[in-house]
Amino acid sequence: MKVLVPVKRVVDHNVKINVKNDGSQVDLSNAKMALNPFCEIAVEEAIRLKERGIASEIVVVTIGEEIAQEQLRSALAMGADRALLIAAPSSLEPLNLAKLLTKVVEREQPSLILMGKQSIDGDNNQTGQMLAALCGYSQGTFAAELQIENGQATVTREIDGGLQTLSLTLPAVITTDLRLNQPRYTSLPNLMKAKKKPLSIIPAEEFAVELRPHTTLLKVESPPVREAGIRLNNVDELLNKLKNEAKVI
């Protein structure tokens, strides 16, 4: 069974984000970049499926600028077999990403698409669901557990109020939540080996998809700053403040 894992290059989650002075975008100049954490979980899950003998090949794909090869190499070093970089501007909206990924799905014919539920830059949480819709596939979003058996995926999802388990007919799109697994660290020998694994670069134009903009970004601003309040010495002082100053209890 072939597993396709779409991944994204994003700012490292430890980087403190500042907004550019002209309010046009966030300032990512010189920021450390990384594989999106939810994508890392998706790559890890695919590798575990391969280790259990369920997956036979893991193909990672990203859409973006050529520098995103770095993140593809990270995924290859974790244990993916082959990588595709669809060369396109890194600012594409989720619907356009989903349209390009649909073409990759047509070409690669995977039985399972495993991907992060959201990227930590745009926080959109859309691409997996859109890809499933465009392919006519079922979807298992926010996965906390995954079993594959007899052409069916059994996925336990993190939902408001608890957990929900679904059975999906393959091929299907599964998006990963935080507790699906703990991604492995990459060893130095595996990093070296990853340099020799196949990575192809395909210009987005080759897929002949019309990539129309659907939104305009008018402004990016910093959120309102919340000032630190006061230090209190004991519980009585706190209760007094909550009752008489804030009037919330």
Binding site: K117, A133, D160, G162, L168, T169, L178, K219, I249
Partner: protein, 309 residues
């Protein structure tokens, strides 16, 4: 111009976040139609018809919608779309699951997690875990968006009832099947809409110790929340996580106990009216945004609070 809003419910009860979403829908200035999709959920439709500002309620009552799976519900909304300029849902796990699927079928964008409506086509939404706020304008003929309920006030209840009309989905060949559900049973108020939230973090140390948080929450008739660290450590269920990828809350009072205040947690609660932080580490980032701070051992402070409330 007309707006369709997907109602949050569990076939028995309307979820209170729907009231917040209705007031957001009203800000668009269009007639507001609510869609209740489920099975044996006529009572929910009746509740929905009594929300002030609602003009119509559509009721899709069929076994295919019982568990509100994304595939049939998205197909239903897609079939209804031509009568509307705006399709809305709450940015709950349900809305996030269903609405992007509708957007792709309709070949338009989805705008996620809207926190302010500036006009029929322009909206504010947080990006980078709330480290920045983007103002977005839609270029699509149909605007599809999910709403962050805590950013909008709750609509009131109306004495008069909007008419309820039955709608039907098309025949649907299931490609996904519901197997099982484990709902966390609780008599406490719901996290997303509670007036008071008490959250615990890594410093609680164990599931047993987390009972302290529950005792404090119960004294204040509040909801219980948790940081990602506490959820990852198995102290509480995942649905209590407050933060970027969990619940977004904006209560009157938020008490953070033993939570250091990682950015992804702060993005889920920094709009609370009053924030109290209790932590033994006086350098903890949570103190930078707290209105009232107590530096000390939570295992001494919280029992004292419980005793004195």
């Amino acid at each position: 111009m007309a707006t369709l809003l997907l109602v949050e419910h569990d076939n028995h009860q309307l979820n209170a976040v729907t009231y917040n979403a209705v007031s957001a829908a009203c800000e668009l200035g269009n007639e507001v139609t609510l869609l209740v999709a489920g099975e044996n959920c006529h009572g929910v439709a009746q509740q929905a018809s009594h929300i002030a500002g609602v003009t119509n309620v559509l009721l899709a009552d069929a076994s295919a919608f019982k568990h509100q799976l994304a595939e049939p519900v998205a197909a239903l909304i897609h079939a209804l779309r031509q009568d509307y300029s705006h399709l809305l849902a709450v940015a709950s796990t349900n809305g996030k699951n269903i609405l992007p699927r509708v957007a792709a079928l309709a070949d338009v964008a989805q705008i996620s997690d809207v926190i302010a409506i500036l006009g029929p086509k322009s909206f504010k939404r947080p990006i980078y875990a709330g480290s920045a706020i983007a103002t977005i304008e839609s270029l699509d003929p149909l605007v599809i968006m999910t709403l962050r309920a805590s950013s909008f006030p709750a609509a009131s209840v109306s004495q008069s009832a909007a008419p309820i009309t039955a709608v039907y989905g098309e025949d649907y060949q299931p490609i996904s099947r519901f197997v099982d559900e484990q709902r966390v049973q609780s008599d406490r108020p719901q996290l997303a809409t509670a007036r008071v939230v008490v959250s615990g973090g890594r410093a609680l140390g164990s599931r047993e110790n987390f009972a302290l948080i529950e005792q404090l929450a119960d004294k204040l008739h509040g909801a219980v929340g948790a940081s990602r660290a506490a959820v990852d450590a198995g102290m509480v269920a995942n649905d209590l996580q407050v933060g970027q990828t969990g619940k977004i809350v904006a209560p009157e009072l938020y008490i953070a106990v033993g939570i250091s205040g990682a950015i992804q947690h702060l993005s889920g609660m920094s709009n609370a009216k009053v924030i109290v932080a209790i932590n033994s580490d006086e350098e903890a980032p949570i103190f930078k945004i707290a209105d009232y701070s107590l530096v000390g051992d939570l295992f001494e402070i919280v029992p004292q609070l419980v005793a004195k409330l």
